[in-house]
Symmetry: C2
Subunit: 184 residues, 2 copies
């Protein structure tokens, strides 16, 4: 494997390193629960595309559906684990990319009435609070579990990171709102 796969492949591969075999559907759920705070959760269709790709490369293998199961679960192979580790060690991380629709709208705030901009920021605050509640739930569910090799330590760290990030953004938006109120 000399060439990197798309990052989404490694993200999904990573979700399979915590000891569970997952179907495409479960993988998507797992991504929505844990990954989406730091990496845009791939569309359902994309998950299946990736599983096919990963199977072709021998990085995961389907455990054929038994008589009781609806569909096949995927397990990461030894080669998959090696490739993921190689990627972690060799591929440079690059900088985060962000699509922030609220910031984008604020940037052209001069086109609309200031009251509208304030409403936008207030509704963003609400969404931040909801997001934070979600992530707190995730964090708690992680603390309870254990996995081979203390694997859940890092997801916990990342969840804490996310929570602090959200708290920070809340504080920033509140300050911005205050400035908008004061400056008229």
């Amino acid at each position: 494997m000399s060439q990197d796969l798309p990052t989404t492949s490694y993200a999904l591969l990573g979700l399979l390193t915590f000891g569970d075999d997952l179907t495409g559907y479960e993988l998507k759920q797992r991504a929505d629960r844990t990954l989406r705070f730091y990496w845009v959760s791939p569309a359902m269709s994309q998950v299946y595309t990736e599983l096919e790709r990963l199977t072709d490369h021998g990085l995961v293998s389907p455990r054929e559906a038994g008589p009781n199961q609806k569909s096949s679960k995927y397990r990461i192979t030894a080669k998959g684990r090696r490739e993921l580790t190689r990627w972690l060690e060799e591929a440079p991380a690059g900088f985060p990319t962000l699509k922030h629709p609220v910031a984008l709208r604020l940037l052209v705030g001069h086109l609309v009435d200031p009251s509208r901009t304030r409403a936008l920021l207030r509704s963003h605050l609400d969404e931040l609070a909801a997001h934070r509640a979600d992530l707190e739930g995730v964090r708690e569910s992680l603390v309870g579990r254990d996995a081979p090799g203390d694997a859940f330590r890092y997801p916990s760290l990342v969840a804490d990171w996310g929570l602090e990030y959200l708290a920070g953004e809340q504080a920033i938006i509140e300050k911005l709102l205050q400035r908008l109120d004061e400056e008229g």
Copy 2:
């Protein structure tokens, strides 16, 4: 215009509301300088695709290249301004999406040696500092300018937002590093 264009269209359209006519190339530069901190900067090829689309919809119009100019500059039309305003008022903002390669790697940190993870975080700190210096430059260049209707007030606000965000992330990463050091 009953249907929304892709968000990238509005982002580029927004860059044309600050009083300058820009070529595709200049538009890309502008996006790299100001937009990229909040909205992933579109590829060069995408900028030209968008300009074509916006022209087709009558939202921008090319000012034909005079004898001294290399290429045509684009100006936002009255219709373009109306459409951007309509979008601001009608289209819901949605939640930010993030691709954070450092968080993604930290999530599967159990696969590699902890020293490698620490090195990853430290190098991210360096990048954050560089990013912050860039953004400080942008912020200063905004303060000096003025535009019709106090248009640069909002980009200044957004730049402040970005700076606080970066400072916050720096603090979080430093705390994470400390925890990794303490816990072994």
